[in-house]
Symmetry: C2
Subunit: 139 residues, 2 copies
């Protein structure tokens, strides 16, 4: 069975550092919460994980389909529950991308494949949040 292992080391204040594939990833809290903002706050990293997971799917699928694209970005808008623990309960992914008009349906296919077949982080998010997607084709 495949597994992953990380170790997060407390560095003082509210800061933790994790070595991940030879990259150091820090988390911290804002000053108002007792930290020194030496890194992002931990929860929002889940949104980076989500955008990255589906993002690389789209790139891989479009590359396989030999679809040229540019200006690709993904917006994530996430709403939190009112009560503690404040989990993400509604998440919207907006894919912004520029492709030739006749390739737009291929982008729609790529987003569908990522969301409904390949993207593990989206699959995990769907276990606790309502996840919606939108594609905006850039001119």
């Amino acid at each position: 069975m495949a597994s992953q292992h990380i170790t997060s080391i407390f560095k003082g204040g509210m800061e933790f550092e994790t070595e991940l594939h030879n990259h150091k990833v820090k988390i911290d809290l804002f000053e108002k919460d007792g930290g020194k903002n030496q890194g992002p706050e931990p929860k929002a990293l889940m949104l980076v994980s989500l955008a990255g997971c589906t993002g690389v799917d789209i790139v891989m699928i479009l590359n396989k389909m030999k679809v040229g694209f540019s200006n690709f970005s993904i917006d994530v808008d996430a709403q939190l529950t009112e009560s503690v623990p404040r989990i993400y309960e509604f998440v919207k992914l907006t894919y912004r991308i520029r492709v030739k008009k006749h390739d737009e349906s291929k982008v729609e296919k790529a987003v569908d494949l990522s969301q409904n077949k390949y993207c593990s982080v989206s699959a995990m998010f769907r276990k606790f949040a309502k996840l919606e997607t939108e594609i905006q084709f850039e001119l």
Copy 2:
């Protein structure tokens, strides 16, 4: 309703960059997967989020309890499902910490409070994975 917003921008290859509280967070894939390893792969960032979320809880609670501690780290061991999408299905958090003997029960209380009350990322993980915890007191 509180919300969070991020934008992840495609930088070429398999790399995406996200600005998060004035910190740039990159994700990428390994060379074997078509990337250049300019940042961690996206899914594992969820484990960093998990360790950080519960880690800052423990620090805040121990500080409030005026419990001195050192050598604090958190191991995360995560097992993935065999089938695609490969989500985390079993996750073990091992808290390693050095405290005075008479403060050990306070660490247990802090872990319990984080896991069962405050840590939103743990609460989200519990919606898709079995989550276990262990405390190892360092000498």
